[in-house]
Each structure stands twice: as structure tokens, then as C-alpha cells.
């Protein structure tokens, strides 16, 4: 049975060069993450702590939100509460009207994407400029992000260059940006050198920072004990957005609140290592008060989050800190790309969040999972992603959307997942399958093979190699 995901994925796979590049790009990020993991003996303790801190915070969220609000107000910051996207957009517009805002510079925020903020601002005649380079490229190309951390990685340098030319950025800033950068004989009018294009974008965005009346940021964390909003970026665009305009609006989902600096230490060490395979982002900025003569507003957005807490099977999605690791590792995401999913957040976490948002619109994405569990193994806060996807598949049955082929194997998988010792045994004997005649593992009678080619199992499982010390 085809789903919207499988149909879109098939199309994505027609350009094999692009698929390979996409796959390798994200696998290299995953590998960098692994490299950093092996450098920290406390890696697993950090992950378990992050898991427990999130569980603790989310099950005491009302108290922590109140504490956060009290402290933020003490710092002179305005705090607003929005129950849904409409109320959120209204609050933003009201603040902008009071300040007579004409132009907004914005640093990357998935929440504003979720609430369709940009469309709303444009509708009200406000010029909105994304300042994360990837986001800006997408905004200019009028296409959505295809990953939550590296949103434009699927776009080629040639496409970026063509877009910058079309939008007049090259004409205005190209000659300046090219100074001392391009090789002899290379023409700035046609160059697609990434350093040069980044430089041109830098000058283009500088102009916008200087003219803006308002800076908007998301927040990676809100700290209840102090009222800090913490924003992590590599480009420094959140800092530029808030250092020049005299108005700073923060949009943050309820679940981003954490208790204190002790917790922050744990998350700071995990976020960049998981997301991009770096020991840290370049900037980890703590916004506690507005700048002298400026104003700071924080909008706490629910938009379905408080209801998710009551969902006994899926409440742990609230632990997610949007690091992107689960998509980087997902074999289906890597080979089908962000646009194959019907929800704006792709990959394992996106499958789950999409189902929580709107099952009918997003059940298609449930097919985008091979139940390999790689996501569970990399998630820094231990969201049980694949188990949750598995549960959605069971539910699809009652919705009448289950794929009868996949149903049978899922039942077998359940037995494995619920009995860890069996799972280990199954792994140990998996290499035997290499010697099983192909017709047995590849015939249409084995329905699981229908949508999957048989993987070549390693002679020794990673598990065993690890134990024998062969994996360094």
C-alpha cells in the first residue's frame, strides 16, 4: 500500500546523486556525534540525567512555568500566555502595533513555523527577514525547511547562487563580498563558492539588522530559577537580532522550561554534540533582561502541548529538545528527504508530533519507519521514538489505514521489543540469514521483504564487537 510518504520518497529517489549526497551528509553528522560520544565517559549518564530531568520538569511543568514567570517579571520582562496559534499570532501583532514595527529580523524558530507566524506578519504588512543563513535561503526561494537544524542542506550551492542573483543580493553585495576571496579568473557574478555566498549573505543580512525595529528569537531553554531564555546558535544571528533593535520578542513552547543551571549544564553538553556533532554551538546566550532602553517579551505557547501531557502513550514526546539527531540517523529520512513527510517536522520525532497534531493528515508518515530503533539509541533525552511509531501503527488499524502487509511483521517485532533478551538472541543469529538462500528472505511470501531489501548482516554484531573491544 502506498502512502503519501512512500510516493514522495520514490520521487525523491529518482535523483540518485541528490539522495546519495543527502544520505552521506546526515550520516557524517551522525558519525561526528558518535566521535564525541566516545570522548565522554559520562555520555550515558548525561543522557539518562537529561531524560530524568525532562521527565521531572514535564510532570511538574505548571509549577516551573509559574516560577519562570515570576522571575522573568522580576527582571522586567513581559510574559504572555498563548493557548493556541491564533492567540499567539494576536499577541505578536499587538506588541508590534504598540511599537509600530515595520521590519522584523528573526532567528530560527520551529515554533513560529508551527504557528505560521511569517504569513501572518506579511499579511499585516510587516517585513520579516529570517537571519539564519539556511532559513534565509529558504525564505528567498519560497520553500519550507527540510530539517529542523540544517533546514537548507538539500539545496545545492548552484541553486543558492542563482537565488542570490535573482534577488539582487549578488548585484548589491557581490563585488564587496568577493574581495580577496575568489580565485583568479573566477567571476563573482557567476561564482557559487560557499564562502563567497556566505559573505554576500552576511552583508545582505547586516543591512537588515541595522534597519529592523524588532528582533524575534525562539528559545532552546527557559530557566525557571532565574527567568533566563537560552538561545544556542553558530551564526550569532540571534545575538545580532537582539543587539540592534530595541524590541525583543521570544516565542517558546511550554516544554522548553527547565528547572535551573544544574540542568542547563547537562543540556548544554548534549545539545550540539547530538545535533551537529560539535562540542558546543559558538554562542550560548542567556537573555535575562532587556537591553538599556529596550523591551523584552516572552510568549509561552501551548498549542496542544498541555493535552499531550495527558496522553499516556505519547506524553514523552514533550521531552524533545529539537536537536535533530533522530533525523540524522534515520535511514528512511536520509534517503527520502524532509519533503516526503506531510508534517513540517520530518523524521522520527516529526512522525510522532504530526500524529499528535492531526492523525488524518499525517498518518502517511507512519510508513516512514523500518523500526530499526536507531533514533531511540541516539536521542539525548531518550524519547522512545520507535515504540511510539509502532503504537501509532497499531492505532492505524482501528482508523482503517493499516497496511495489511506491515501488520503481520509488526506483531512479530512487538514480541522482540518487549523481550530484550530475545532481541539480543535474534541479533546474534541474524548473520545466519546471510547463508539462507535468497528466495527465502526475498520472496513475496515474506511480506516484510516486500518493501525492504534484505540487509547484509554483519558477521559480528556491533554489540559483540563492542564487547570484544574491537570498536574503538
Amino acid at each position: 500500500m502506498s502512502t503519501k510518504h512512500s510516493i514522495a520518497a520514490e520521487k525523491f529517489n529518482q535523483d540518485s546523486g541528490r539522495v546519495t549526497r543527502h544520505d552521506q551528509t546526515f550520516w557524517s553528522v551522525r558519525s561526528k556525534r558518535d566521535g564525541l560520544a566516545y570522548q565522554l565517559e559520562e555520555w550515558e549518564q548525561l543522557r539518562e540525567s537529561a531524560n530524568l530531568i525532562k521527565k521531572h520538569t514535564i510532570t511538574h511543568l505548571a509549577d516551573y512555568l509559574e516560577q519562570f514567570e515570576t522571575n522573568a517579571k522580576k527582571n522586567g520582562v513581559h510574559v504572555h500566555w498563548a493557548k493556541d496559534a491564533d492567540e499567539y499570532n494576536d499577541i505578536v501583532m499587538e506588541i508590534m502595533r504598540q511599537h509600530n514595527v515595520k521590519k522584523v529580523v528573526k532567528s530560527k524558530s520551529m515554533l513560529t513555523e508551527e504557528c505560521h507566524l511569517n504569513d501572518n506578519l506579511i499579511k499585516h504588512g510587516i517585513d520579516v527577514v529570517e537571519t539564519d543563513l539556511g532559513e534565509r535561503i529558504l525564505q528567498l526561494m519560497e520553500i519550507p525547511p527540510s530539517h529542523i537544524v540544517m533546514p537548507a542542506i538539500h539545496v545545492t550551492r548552484e541553486e543558492v547562487a542563482a537565488c542570490f542573483r535573482e534577488k539582487g543580493i549578488i548585484e548589491k553585495h557581490g563585488a564587496h563580498a568577493a574581495e580577496g576571496l575568489l580565485k583568479e579568473g573566477e567571476d563573482w557574478r557567476t561564482s557559487s563558492d560557499p564562502t563567497y555566498l556566505t559573505r554576500a549573505a552576511r552583508y545582505h543580512l547586516r543591512d537588515n539588522f541595522m534597519e529592523a525595529d524588532c528582533g524575534m528569537t525562539g528559545g532552546n531553554f527557559g530557566i525557571a530559577e532565574t527567568g533566563d531564555i537560552v538561545v544556542c546558535t553558530n551564526e550569532g544571528n540571534a545575538d545580532m537580532s537582539t543587539s540592534i533593535p530595541k524590541l525583543h520578542i521570544v516565542s517558546i513552547g511550554l516544554e522548553k522550561i527547565i528547572p535551573n543551571y544544574k540542568a542547563m549544564g547537562v543540556f548544554q553538553r548534549l545539545l550540539a554534540r547530538h545535533g551537529t556533532g560539535q562540542a558546543t554551538t559558538v554562542y550560548t546566550s542567556h537573555f535575562r533582561k532587556a537591553r538599556p532602553g529596550a523591551e523584552m517579551h516572552i510568549i509561552l505557547v501551548d498549542n496542544g502541548r498541555s493535552s499531550i501531557l495527558g496522553n499516556i502513550e505519547h506524553w514523552q514526546t514533550l521531552k524533545c529538545m529539537r536537536c535533530g539527531a533522530c533525523m540524522n540517523t534515520c535511514p528512511v529520512y536520509r534517503r527520502s528527504g524532509g519533503y516526503s513527510y506531510t508534517y513540517f517536522i520530518p523524521g522520527p520525532i516529526g512522525i510522532n508530533l504530526g500524529m499528535l497534531k492531526d492523525k488524518e493528515a499525517n498518518y502517511h508518515n507512519c510508513s516512514a519507519c523500518s523500526l530499526c530503533m536507531s533514533c531511540d539509541n541516539v536521542c539525548p533525552v531518550k524519547v522512545d521514538l520507535s515504540t511510539q511509531i509502532y503504537k501509532w501503527r497499531q492505532e492505524l488499524d482501528s482508523m482503517g489505514h493499516a497496511d495489511p502487509l506491515k501488520k503481520m511483521t509488526s506483531a512479530g517485532m512487538q514480541t522482540l521489543f518487549e523481550h530484550p533478551s530475545l532481541y539480543t538472541t535474534a541479533l546474534k543469529f541474524a548473520p545466519l540469514a546471510n547463508h539462507v538462500p535468497a528466495f527465502m528472505t526475498n520472496i513475496k511470501a515474506n511480506t516484510w521483504c516486500y518493501g525492504h531489501t534484505m540487509p547484509e548482516f554483519a558477521k559480528e554484531s556491533f554489540h559483540t564487537l563492542w564487547k570484544k573491544g574491537k570498536v574503538k
Binding site: K83, R157, T195, S243, A263, A279, S285, L309
Partner: protein, 193 residues
């Protein structure tokens, strides 16, 4: 009922089990020589430079040495010869022209190169809009990991602080690493006694 009450009530009503804050007493990464490790991290992965400054050094000569082509220097640190002062500029925008911003860091972290820079000036734009930065850090204030760093950092009345680990960077175009995205595109740490 206000949205605030509605949200808080729903959150309270939806909690089933509760969980305790965990014990974070596990052993954390420690370096035998955090200073050496800090220099190593900063000059390799973080993409910055480190100048070791002796008490007898002339700081202004060192700034020149770090950025010989600089025309406009900004700082509010006593003793630094500056053309612009972030305390007295009229608007944040005035700092856009700065070639070198000279600022101070208070705690540095060896595991990832992060340096805590609290806002100590009227316009923090100096920390980001300057083309390049000189960041002065004392070797006495280097810790091994971020847990220790978070125990040490302090805020003042400005109510802003940031960990900076290197020059602004991006890999948004085909994942090729480029230094100098939106904020400072070069960083030199002056490590003092």
C-alpha cells in the same frame, strides 16, 4: 478563564505519575591541565587563536599584532586605546563599523572552548557586530567542563551574558564550513595571568 489559568489547570490535571530531579553526582570529565586543554580546543575545533599575554606586554601593541589592518577599535576597558566606546555610542548601530572589539571573558571552559562574556557595556552589539574580537581571559578562570562553568558564572545588572567559543560560523550551504556568518568572523583570545 484566562489562557494562563486554562493552560496551568490542564497541565496540572494531566499529570499522572511524577518524577524526581535526578542526582547529578556522577563523575564528570576533568582535565589534568585545563589550561592546556582550553588552548588546544580553542585553536583547533573552535577555530580561534590564543595569544599568551605576559604582565609586561603592552596590550595595545598586542591588539595591533593580532589585527594589523584594523582601522576602528572599540572597547570600554581602561587602558585599551579605542576609537569607539560601547558605553557612550548613541546607538547600537554605531558599532557596525568596528574592526576589532576588545572585550572581557570571566570563565572559560576547556572541554568546548566556551568563554562566559557577561554584558559589561551599554551596547552589547560590540560582542557580535564587530568584524573581529579580542577576548581577554585569565588563565586562573579556566575550568574543565560546563557543569563547573555554570556554577561559576555571574550576572550583573545588565541581565545578559553569553558563552562564546569562537568566530561565528555556518555550514548551511552544502555543509561546507565557513567562518564569519552573521557575527564576528575572527576571534583572538588573550590569555592573561
Amino acid at each position: 478563564m484566562s489562557s494562563r489559568e486554562e493552560i496551568l489547570n490542564r497541565l496540572r490535571g494531566n499529570v499522572r505519575e511524577t518524577y524526581d530531579f535526578p542526582d547529578l553526582g556522577f563523575k564528570k570529565l576533568e582535565f589534568a591541565d585545563p589550561v592546556a586543554q582550553y588552548i588546544e580546543t580553542t585553536t583547533t575545533t573552535a577555530g580561534a587563536r590564543v595569544f599568551e599575554i605576559k604582565p609586561t606586554d603592552d596590550i595595545n601593541a598586542k591588539i595591533r599584532e593580532a589585527y594589523p589592518d584594523a582601522r576602528i577599535i572599540a572597547s570600554n576597558i581602561p587602558g585599551v586605546l579605542a576609537d569607539l566606546n560601547p558605553d557612550t555610542v548613541e546607538r547600537a548601530q554605531d558599532l557596525e563599523v568596528v574592526d576589532v572589539g576588545v572585550i572581557k571573558g570571566e570563565v572559560a571552559c576547556a572541554e568546548n572552548g566556551c568563554v562566559w562574556v557577561p554584558q559589561t557595556m551599554k551596547e552589547k552589539a560590540i560582542c557580535f557586530a564587530s568584524e573581529t574580537l579580542v577576548l581577554i581571559v585569565s588563565r586562573k578562570n579556566i575550568v574543565s567542563n560546563m557543569h563547573e562553568a555554570y556554577e561559576r558564572i555571574k550576572f550583573n545588572d545588565y541581565g545578559f551574558g553569553t558563552f562564546i567559543s569562537g568566530p561565528s560560523k555556518t555550514a548551511d550551504i552544502e555543509q561546507s564550513l565557513v567562518y564569519g556568518a552573521q557575527a564576528a568572523r575572527g576571534l583572538t583570545v588573550f590569555l592573561t595571568d
